[in-house]
């Protein structure tokens, strides 16, 4: 009990420190640094909330960009009549509703089938909106006229990132989190022990979607002009999953750590050498899956010792083979 309380105190302190640092950033950082931090916070929110459901249950959803896009379009359509805060909440609500409908259709599938279908549905939504805009409203994209100040956007996305981590901490300590873990370990066993898995999965998927929707609603104002191909960009969904996996989708801090690493890497490499950025991404994923399946957050001193021993054993084996050959 005291162990779990200590853990809670530690996690809360880390979150507090992170929040304080991010809060202070706009005061001294350059425009470039703040913009980089914003992207970073966006991925902290997306990956942490993704891991909350998908990481623990191992339901690999590729639908993040669908929810993100839904949020972005909510802002484009309703920011003028509703205002900033309502439009964020509405974006979350609509995304969660879509997630419940989508989840009811595909959450009984596992593994590849689930991943492929969520991706298919994302594409379906994207093309449906493109079609609707072209045929019915007669536009290709939308211009955002009312845009809040930079600091408002920054603080909103920071708030969402902090909330995503805080909700993850809370869920981990609650029965709901235990149910999610049980689903990830052995869904049928969890069911026979009394977990209403259908309901738990729908709720988890909806929470993930609500965050992506809210983030999309907040981030859309960064582009003054949006069209379906920018905001439903599947890359947003892929990158969320990559960050979560590399950081450690089953861990609390992994997604946050990886989001920071990624943002720095992205800004450092993308502008000068975009191909190298994509290659670095791929390489990092391969390495982490092969040698660090628990993600960056599972990195410990002993991990390095393990790698060294493995490498030495491999080198010895190589030497031995040569002697035989």
């Amino acid at each position: 009990m005291s162990d779990s309380r200590q853990l809670l105190i530690r996690d809360s302190l880390v979150l507090l420190a992170f929040t304080g640092w991010a809060l202070a950033l706009p005061a001294y950082g350059s425009e470039f640094v703040v913009s980089m931090a914003l992207t970073c916070l966006m991925y902290v929110a997306l990956s942490s909330s993704w891991s909350l459901f998908c990481g623990t249950t191992r339901y690999l959803s590729l639908a993040t960009s669908a929810f993100f896009g839904i949020g972005a379009y909510t802002t484009a359509l309703f920011i003028e009549p509703l205002g900033w805060w309502s439009v964020i909440a509405l974006g979350a609500l609509i995304a969660a509703t879509v997630a419940v409908l989508m989840g009811a259709a595909v959450l009984h599938l596992r593994g590849t089938y689930f991943a492929v279908l969520t991706f298919g549905m994302t594409e379906l939504i994207r093309h449906a909106i493109s079609y609707f805009e072209k045929q019915v409203t007669g536009t290709v994209g939308r211009v955002l006229m009312v845009v809040p100040e930079r600091d408002t956007i920054y603080l909103t996305v920071l708030g969402l990132a902090v909330l995503a981590v805080a909700v993850s901490i809370a869920v981990r300590r609650h029965r709901f989190g235990l149910a999610l873990r049980g689903i990830g370990a052995d869904e049928q066993r969890a069911q026979t022990l009394g977990v209403n898995t259908k309901l738990v999965k729908l709720a988890g998927f909806a929470i993930t979607a609500a965050f992506a929707g809210a983030v999309g609603a907040a981030m859309s104002v960064r582009w003054t002009y949006i069209d379906p191909h920018t905001v439903f960009n599947p890359f947003i969904g892929f990158q969320t999953v990559l960050i979560a996996l590399i950081g450690g989708a089953a861990t609390l801090w992994g997604p946050l750590i990886a989001a920071i690493v990624f943002s720095v890497l992205a800004e450092a490499l993308r502008l000068q050498v975009p191909q190298i950025y994509m290659m670095a991404l791929g390489l990092l994923l391969i390495l982490s899956v092969l040698y660090l399946p628990g993600g960056l957050a599972s990195l410990r001193g002993s991990t390095f010792v393990g790698w060294r021993d493995g490498l030495l054993a491999w080198a010895r084996g190589l030497g031995g083979e040569k002697r035989h050959g």
């Binding site: 149910a179 873990r181 049980g182 370990a185 052995d186 069911q191 026979t192 009394g194 898995t197």
Partner: protein, 249 residues
């Protein structure tokens, strides 16, 4: 002992495509009974278990638990009505500690059910199944026979009225089987549980249960005391042969 029906399975049929795995089997289980289910490989024992624990929805037939028709509902509803089961291959949560594996059932199906003194918390359940010294270990780190016991503990944590045991003695040594049988008897005697026990090793089972149901090719061919069943001509012919003759001799 009250003669209330805990679970009443009426004309349960489970069909997989053209294969009829369970063919209109009816069976009822009373409070405090210790019942065995036997049958050769492929007789439909486990499929029948899956059906009466909600894991496999029957193609037709009715399941009435504590007077309520719960056919077609999810396994969590069965658990809520006091039906608990183990799996043939232990399905413990390997990454969680032994104690947390017990805690899982207590947090869900067991949460809303009345708690007998022996099943009051993790520690008491661990003591009951004899794993109290292993509570802190990850469940993946204990031996397969200990995992068998943990499976039973996880089921007990749902605070059931009916416990379905799927080949819990398979692969155990002679003395472990005896210990398992003693535990099962104790659960029945001290908790008043109804226990339904599937076992492949017929002789073991017949020694310990009071009633036996025999399945053959998906159908129920006998239902009675071990003494009656071993004399049943259809049973002897269908499957038991030599093994059964030894027991009755």
């Amino acid at each position: 002992m009250a003669e209330a029906l805990l679970l009443d399975a009426r004309d349960i049929t489970v069909r997989f495509g053209g294969l009829v795995a369970v063919d209109t089997v009816s069976a009822s289980f009373r409070a405090g009974e210790l019942v065995g289910i036997i049958g050769p490989n492929g007789a439909g024992k486990t499929t029948f278990f899956n059906a009466i624990s909600g894991v496999q929805a029957p193609t037709s037939g009715q399941l009435v638990a504590e007077g309520r028709d719960i056919s077609g509902q999810g396994p969590h509803r069965f658990a809520a009505h006091g039906v608990a089961r183990t799996f043939q291959t232990p399905r413990v949560f390997g990454e969680m500690s032994v104690q947390d594996n017990i805690g899982f059932g207590l947090s869900f199906a067991g949460r809303r059910r009345e708690a007998p003194w022996l099943l009051r918390d993790e520690a008491s359940i661990l003591a009951l199944i004899g794993l109290d010294h292993l509570g802190h270990l990850p469940a993946a780190a204990i031996t397969p026979s200990q995992q068998r016991l943990l499976e039973i503990g996880m089921a007990l944590a749902t605070r059931p009225r009916l416990l379905l045991l799927d080949e819990v003695a398979a692969g155990l040594t002679e003395s472990e089987v005896e210990a398992m049988a003693r535990l099962i008897r104790r659960l029945r005697d001290e908790l008043g549980l109804t226990v339904v026990w599937i076992e492949h090793a017929v002789t073991t089972l017949l020694r310990h249960v009071e009633r036996v149901i025999v399945l053959h090719q998906g159908r129920k061919i006998a239902d009675g005391t071990p003494a009656e069943v071993v004399r049943n001509a259809e049973v002897i012919e269908a499957y038991l042969g030599d093994e059964m003759a030894e027991t009755s001799a």
